[in-house]
């Protein structure tokens, strides 16, 4: 066995085996990466079954090597990849939700802001307040009931097709050591998305200011905010 031939055979999965035992290495590379994705996408595996997951994921692994030895970051493009390889219309969106769960799990730590700090906002300063979210916080939207599908699969319960056919938006964030998923309504989703983009409360809540108090309470109650910055014109 020559070193140069070994390197080439590792890099190109389609190249012929340079040695009868070379397959061990190729299999090790493939199974280590499939296992990394099995840890990141357990609900996808439950939805399609172990065999289908293995085949679909082997294709991904062959097409896309990790760029870094930190496998925590591997598989960001997996949801887009499987979207083209499944008959389950909601699978890619469930994968996006799982992917966000994983990012939230590993996101940087930050202390949520105490509720009293929100009380310091006065009617005069309210519209200048900008909110910094916990690094784990994100919103995942789908035409399918991804929150319900995720929950059902996690509990190993049976999934009825009719339960999947409803748009859902899920808020994902981490509170201390626990990653949380919560289905939120359209108004809350629009409100949070606007704040995440750096908009102020008045603009974020839209035309109907009557909802502001409730949305603010949600923000405080879920411990989503780590800092308030004043942005005066």
């Amino acid at each position: 066995m020559q070193e140069a031939a070994f390197h080439q055979a590792i890099a190109e999965a389609s190249s012929p085996l340079p040695h009868i035992r070379f397959r061990v290495y190729r299999n090790n590379v493939s199974s280590a990466l499939i296992n990394a994705l099995r840890v990141r996408y357990p609900v996808v595996e439950k939805l399609v079954g172990r065999k289908m997951f293995g085949a679909m994921t082997a294709d991904f692994v062959a097409a896309q090597r990790p760029r870094s030895p930190v496998l925590i970051d591997y598989g960001e493009e997996y949801p887009d990849f499987i979207a083209l390889r499944t008959n389950l219309p909601y699978l890619a969106d469930v994968a996006r939700l799982e992917s966000q769960w994983w990012r939230a799990y590993h996101a940087a730590d930050a202390e949520p802001l105490a509720a009293e700090r929100f009380a310091e906002l006065t009617p005069e300063t309210l519209e200048y307040a900008r909110f910094r979210f916990h690094p784990s916080a994100a919103i995942v939207s789908s035409h399918w009931a991804i929150g319900a599908i995720w929950n059902t699969a996690r509990q190993n319960a049976d999934l009825r097709a009719s339960d999947t056919e409803k748009p859902q938006t899920v808020l994902v964030w981490r509170r201390e050591a626990d990653v949380r998923l919560q289905v939120i309504d359209n108004a809350s989703a629009a409100f949070l998305a606007a704040l995440m983009q750096g908009k102020g409360l008045v603009e974020a809540v839209g035309s109907d200011l009557s909802g502001l108090q409730a949305q603010l309470q949600m923000l405080i109650g879920l411990h989503l905010i780590t800092a308030i910055e004043m942005k005066f014109p």
Binding site: F6, I10, I20, A32, P66, S68, P69, V70
Partner: protein, 284 residues
């Protein structure tokens, strides 16, 4: 308060996310926990939270699997910086990496791949270890690989290659006794001859693990360093021979797949402790 980071000559186990809670409930007596560096390179969250808490009760050993010290490419500077940061944050008693490569132009390959043993690879490996020890600011231990085949261009025996690497670079050694056993079986050599040729005086840590027995396509028996089963009796026996000559050393029970309940790994660490105690008695 933090425990001393020094790792004593006792049995330890790998830290697995599956065991985080059980460790606090069962509070097992163990010499140390070893972590795979790459599993703690996320920004935050539960892995760091648990590791901080475990670090207050047990010494930690830091074991890298992704640096690609044996490869022809330059070392990844960002990865070296991450290893340095982990060393500073958790103050591990030992820090080790592999005599192998894992990064290619095509990306990171997530396996420990072999290299031929020549003057050229010797100087490459020494340069990479120098760079690592300078960047991280401490001595590293180099682990011997498990082999499934050998390279035609090798001009040095593995044990001699490792001895020369340690002499030139000043690194210490991590002797993986299962790897010695697996390689010897696969390459039809004698594991005890390997141990006789190996610079045992430079060993600072031992690994033992389970291997899988399979066959290659020609029907020849092939052992895989799979870390998915308990340590085999033949490996325990070889370990006993090594410890009888080196004296007691920190010993890791490696288990990375089909991870059993915490108590089963602790029981294997106890078996290592018994061997280590008998070496102390013999020396007395």
């Amino acid at each position: 308060m933090r425990v001393r980071s020094d790792i004593t000559a006792r049995g330890g186990i790998g830290l697995k996310a599956e065991h985080y809670r059980a460790i606090f409930e069962e509070k097992p007596e163990l010499g140390f926990f070893e972590i795979h560096a790459e599993n703690y390179m996320g920004a935050g969250g539960p892995p760091h939270r648990y590791l901080e808490a475990i670090r207050e009760r047990y010494p930690i050993s830091l074991h890298g699997v992704g640096l690609s010290i044996g490869g022809p490419l330059p070392l990844n500077a960002a990865h070296l910086a991450r290893l340095k940061a982990l060393n500073e944050r958790y103050e591990p008693g030992l820090f080790s990496e592999h005599l192998a490569w894992s990064t290619h132009d095509a990306g990171y390959l997530a396996d420990l791949l072999p290299l031929p043993y020549t003057e050229e690879t010797l100087s490459r490996v020494c340069d990479h270890i120098d760079e690592t020890q300078n960047a991280v600011g401490r001595q590293m231990l180099l682990e011997n690989p498990s082999s499934y085949l050998s390279f035609a261009e090798s001009t040095l025996a593995e044990a001699d290659f490792i001895r020369e690497v340690a002499r030139r670079s000043g690194c210490g050694l991590l002797l993986d006794v299962n790897n010695v056993f697996v390689s010897a079986r696969n390459l039809n050599t004698d594991p005890r001859a390997y141990i006789n040729a190996y610079p045992l005086e430079l060993v600072r840590e031992i690994h033992v693990a389970g291997h899988e027995i399979t066959a290659d396509q020609a029907g020849e028996m092939l052992l895989i360093d799979a870390h998915g089963t308990p340590v085999a009796d033949e490996v325990w026996s070889l370990y006993g021979d090594v410890i009888a000559r080196t004296g007691p050393l920190p010993t890791l029970i490696e288990r990375d797949s089909d991870v059993p309940p915490l108590a089963e790994l602790v029981a294997e660490a106890r078996r290592a402790d018994a061997v280590l105690r008998s070496a102390v008695r013999r020396a007395a």
